[in-house]
């Protein structure tokens, strides 16, 4: 529907965009995933795909797509996942990455969001390669507690999300000592094709403090700086990626602090991956100066978020509450149960790897037999 798009077009940056790149329908999806995915959305999807194709043709060498949407609504979830599927079909070897705003536990904007979220997740599982899980509850929390904004608006929440997004694409845009484009991040972060849901984080969130490298690594792994309402301590990290930006970064400090963290907190990292952290370093400092880090964690505790969604979904679906809005757009019971099964399978896979240890491998002593440096702590 045209409302938000008109607001962007008339906003301060509206004239920077090519006007043909704004596509909107008239009636909106009415918070209905099925409308966004099958009926209303399908009507404008061809137009959107055309525009995307034109942009892709203008590129020298397309790396992939970044989808930014919420999965609780109608358009972002329904049309968003439809487009994701279309892009997967047309450009199967390009990276499809999505920044998805998940429904929060305590803060609920839409009554049917469990349905919309479950159907979107089902589609994301099949079509996206990297999914960044964010939710408003965590974002509000960060704004209030870390950024110290008493009454955060969506503008403040979006600012946080943008910091994270720019952090993720830093190495694509700027030179550094150790580069990592989107695909390199995916190769290192996704051990099995379906385990691709990451918790994003960013530090420093407060703009008036200058952090040394020493605290930066600690801050990145601290749940205070994560943008998803999920406690990483309830699970284990499969893999993580840290992208550092700054003028005077020491590779040695970063390498050693990450190693020290993994050794100290080894219970929270799976043993069957010898080194769980991918590092990337960019020499250009962030806009506000100093140093910053972006964090992407593939943690098994993410199933908590999915578990909550599925539980809410089940409560509603058992009584078929609100389901007629979806049946009315051509969906059937088969799709409802397929979606739930797919997500449960993925959750089981995560839980399996959380609990699996590896007892066959004994770490041998360090090759030199002595500790290399005394000051590994920070």
């Amino acid at each position: 529907e045209p409302g938000t798009i008109d607001a962007v077009k008339n906003g301060p940056w509206g004239s920077a965009f090519n006007p043909t790149n704004f596509v909107h329908g008239i009636s909106g999806a009415g918070n209905n995933w099925a409308k966004g995915h099958y009926t209303e959305g399908a009507e404008i999807s061809d137009q959107v795909v055309d525009v995307i194709r034109q942009e892709a043709e203008r590129s020298d060498c397309l790396q992939g797509f970044q989808f930014v949407h919420s999965i609780g609504g109608g358009t972002g979830s329904g049309l968003g996942t439809l487009l994701l599927a279309r892009m997967m079909e047309e450009y199967p070897d390009r990276i499809n990455m999505s920044f998805s705003v998940f429904p929060s536990t305590l803060v609920s904007d839409v009554v049917v969001e469990p349905y919309n979220a479950v159907f979107s997740l089902h589609s994301l599982l099949d079509n996206a390669m990297e999914v960044f899980v964010m939710d408003n509850e965590a974002l509000y929390d960060r704004c209030q507690k870390e950024v110290k904004i008493a009454t955060p608006t969506y503008r403040d929440l979006n600012a946080l999300v943008c910091r994270c997004m720019t952090g993720v694409t830093t190495c694509l845009r700027l030179p550094g000592q150790l580069n990592a484009d989107l695909r390199k991040l995916a190769t290192n972060l996704v051990p099995f094709p379906r385990l691709k849901f990451f918790i994003p984080g960013y530090a420093p969130i407060t703009t008036d403090q200058r952090y040394q490298n020493a605290s930066l690594v600690k801050e990145l792994f601290s749940p205070r700086n994560m943008l998803a309402a999920c406690d990483p301590r309830r699970g284990r990290y499969l893999t993580c990626a840290c992208i550092f930006r700054g003028n005077n970064l020491s590779m040695r400090e970063i390498d050693h602090q990450l190693n020290a963290l993994q050794t100290r907190e080894s219970a929270y990292f799976v043993e069957w991956i010898p080194n769980n952290v991918k590092t990337a370093v960019c020499n250009i400092p962030p806009l506000e100066g100093g140093q910053s880090g972006t964090f992407m964690g593939n943690n098994t505790a993410i199933v908590d978020i999915f578990g909550r969604l599925v539980a809410q979904y089940q409560l509603m679906y058992k009584k078929r509450a609100f389901a007629h809005w979806y049946y009315g757009e051509g969906m059937d019971d088969m799709e409802f149960s397929e979606a739930e099964t797919n997500i449960r399978d993925m959750m089981d896979e995560y839980s399996m790897y959380a609990n699996e240890g590896d007892t066959d491998f004994e770490l041998t002593t360090d090759q030199t037999g002595n500790e290399s440096d005394a000051d590994d702590s920070y």
Binding site: D60, C61, Q63, C171, P175, G176, Q177, L178, N179, A180, D181, R183, K184, A186, T187, N188, L189, V190, P191, F192, P193, N213, T239, N248, L249, S250, M251, R252, E253, D255, H256, L258, N259, E271, W272, I273, P274, N275, N276, V277, K278, T279, A280, Y353, E356, D358, D360, F361, L363, T364, D366, Q367, T368, G369, S372, D373
Partner: protein, 452 residues
Amino acid sequence: MGRECISLQLGQAGCQIGSSLWELYLLEHAIGNDGMVSPLIREANERMFENAYDTIFNETEHGQLVPRSVFADLEPTVCDEIRSGPIRAIFNPSQIVSGKEDASNCYARGYYTIGRDLIDEVMENIRKQAECCDCIQSFFVFHSFGGGTGSGFASLVLDNIAAEFSAKSRLACAVYPSPRISTAIVEPYNSVLLTHTSMENMDVVFLMDNEAMYQLCRARLKIERPSYINLNQLIAQVASTITCSLRFSGSLNVDLSEFQTNLVPFPRIHFPVTAFSPIRTPEQAYHESNSCRQITEQAFSKDNLFLKCNPSHGRYMACGLLYRGDLIPKEVNDAIADIKNKRTVQFVNWCPTGFKVGINHRLPVVVPGSDMAVTNRSLCVLSNNTAIGEAWHNLDLKFDKLWSKRAFVHWYVNECMEEGEFSEARENLAMLEQDYQSAFDMGRDEPDDTEF
């Protein structure tokens, strides 16, 4: 003139090391950043018969010196930095080859899919470089083990070079995965696959790892927060000493093919580690003396190695000592005699001679702004020790952990690789570990050895 050596800089690590290396070469030969040598220096060189920079530079008819080198990376960022860096003017633009999309830390992308798109251009460049040479002696490759381009694309390039230039030696300076720290999660896979594929194609691979070099920077150079630029400067010093005999005269020259012959006892055991001395700050240099004996002793200390490994856990199979600067053969022989008497330096019994010595009289040079002290003599030790088997063992353990769950394998299989290749590579490395172990076992004195 002959004896030319073509440098190949592959991947981000290779290109960044190359940048530091050519900066050092320019200083050593007093060549300006535009590739020209001043007429006075040319005259002085001719008088001393010192214009053997032919081996690494190609002189055009205008008198410009162009490096005999190819920089290749599958993505453009790193090459763009070189194209806009301080020494950009010495390179012919066609020597710096970059693709559009990188190997993303995936050996299979570097070897099979993305690498295949760039290999023709790179080989074309190498051929062009080879045509400008009278008689190439060797290829000197710089790359990392853990990256996608450094492992996959490097293997592909080496395959092609081995096929086309089979009679020429192929040496490499490679960044090996550190035992404890790492920047890429799939590093073990890439390293094992690279070693397997290039085992037959490489003659000598000098191993170095970041952890050991960081330690050197902190302990010796007092750099609190070392970064890659510091490490690359150290690597450049080592590489410069290795090619030193090709470029300057000395009392005991060592060709690159002589490294092969003297350092590699069995074809598969071709992974020596490097050590360099003196590594010290200008303040220390003021207070410490720098005799031949002292630098030799320092170079044989475990803390001066560029790879994390304990040589006293194994035995030396061969050792190359490349001295450089102001010294005479007599001092060198005395220093070596001292080393032979050290208990920590034990050789296998099937290698009675053990040492290959090179002496070059050109003084070592230090890049201004680097933290190393200017010195009038230096030593680079290249040692082939059975203890390096431990480093392979730890790498294999890491590989096994990942492989046990088949983690990340789908990224490789999607790029036209087969799972069988992983198992083959792992078996090859298991055999390599055994080779090192047998070399050690063979080399220990039996209690009832009779003497003639």
